[in-house]
Symmetry: C2
Subunit: 215 residues, 2 copies
Amino acid sequence: MSQYPPAQGAPVPEPSVRVLPVVDGVQPERADAARNRARLLEAASRLVAEHGAGHVTMEAVAAAASVGKGTVFRRFGDRAGLMRALLDHAEQAYQKAFLFGPAPLGPGSPAAERLEAFGIATLRHLETYVDLYLASERCPTRRYSFPARAVQATHVAALLRQAGVTGDVELLTQALLGYLDAGLVNHLRTVRRLPAERVEAGWKDLVARMVREDH
Amino acid sequence: MSQYPPAQGAPVPEPSVRVLPVVDGVQPERADAARNRARLLEAASRLVAEHGAGHVTMEAVAAAASVGKGTVFRRFGDRAGLMRALLDHAEQAYQKAFLFGPAPLGPGSPAAERLEAFGIATLRHLETYVDLYLASERCPTRRYSFPARAVQATHVAALLRQAGVTGDVELLTQALLGYLDAGLVNHLRTVRRLPAERVEAGWKDLVARMVREDH
């Protein structure tokens, strides 16, 4: 954990190799294959953002990336493989943003502000990818053991400590992450129909209650 | 919701009919059939408490209740039916305790104390029944729409308001309930191997942070 927390103002190393645990591991690829793959995933990400995960088909991705359908099938096997790769790709970008990106989400801002920004970034990330997260977490016992959740927990716990929070930081972290659970956010946004702004304000309130000085 | 919140010191009406939404609805039964059913479920509950849900078979319940195996099968259909009925039965007792039971869990104590007691009661309830809850919540999107969760949410929101908490009580309620999620509690207890006392202390800390005076 030598990069954690990064020194303020220090140059942020661009990770040259994949070091973060992500949802679905992949093998290293040749540079051109990796570029090709990234291009297909960018196209798929745009489709998810515009139309939702339900509308992303192998054909639509091929068309959006201007390649043949066969290329998409060779690369991802089937639609489930594409969805896993897409979630993995999105998760990497999201993790990079809160670990290495610009402040206040990335290093350089006070811990309480970074914590606020982390929740907002997570809620916005879920706004686009919630369907993929829900599809990937069929088993309720495994939800909390995902490597990606461990990355979130490490980050939140570090920020809580930096913010001077005393108490059982590990458990407070679990409570905070519970608010960012894909199933809960989906429930609040689509079943309860709460506006995104209200859910984001709820996160800020929660953080304020966690970090204010102990009584 | 005329019974909510109950006046302090007022006689607590024993609900004569099933008015609470529970995990799995059943039809009204004749008195002797209901007694029979209750006896089988008590036997099954004892088995769960002693050996865990995995060890509760139709045969074991029949033996524990001193009836023939056929009686258990006629009553519950199959093991899945028995498990649903058992969860329903346990859920009713748990709900009754926090809605109508003795203080500090039931009416009569200050709201913050009741909120503390509610979490502890929920964690202890899960300590016994977590396997059944996990088995019943296969679908992550439905977890938050269970009627039983709505009962918990109504209760927690009412206590937060009584404790004078300002802010978005509905969302703070969701954050608190996130800590009591069956999957999370299971993760903390069986994967992370945290002692029950620590998880209970974490709940108390969380409640304290929620209800202390706004800054």
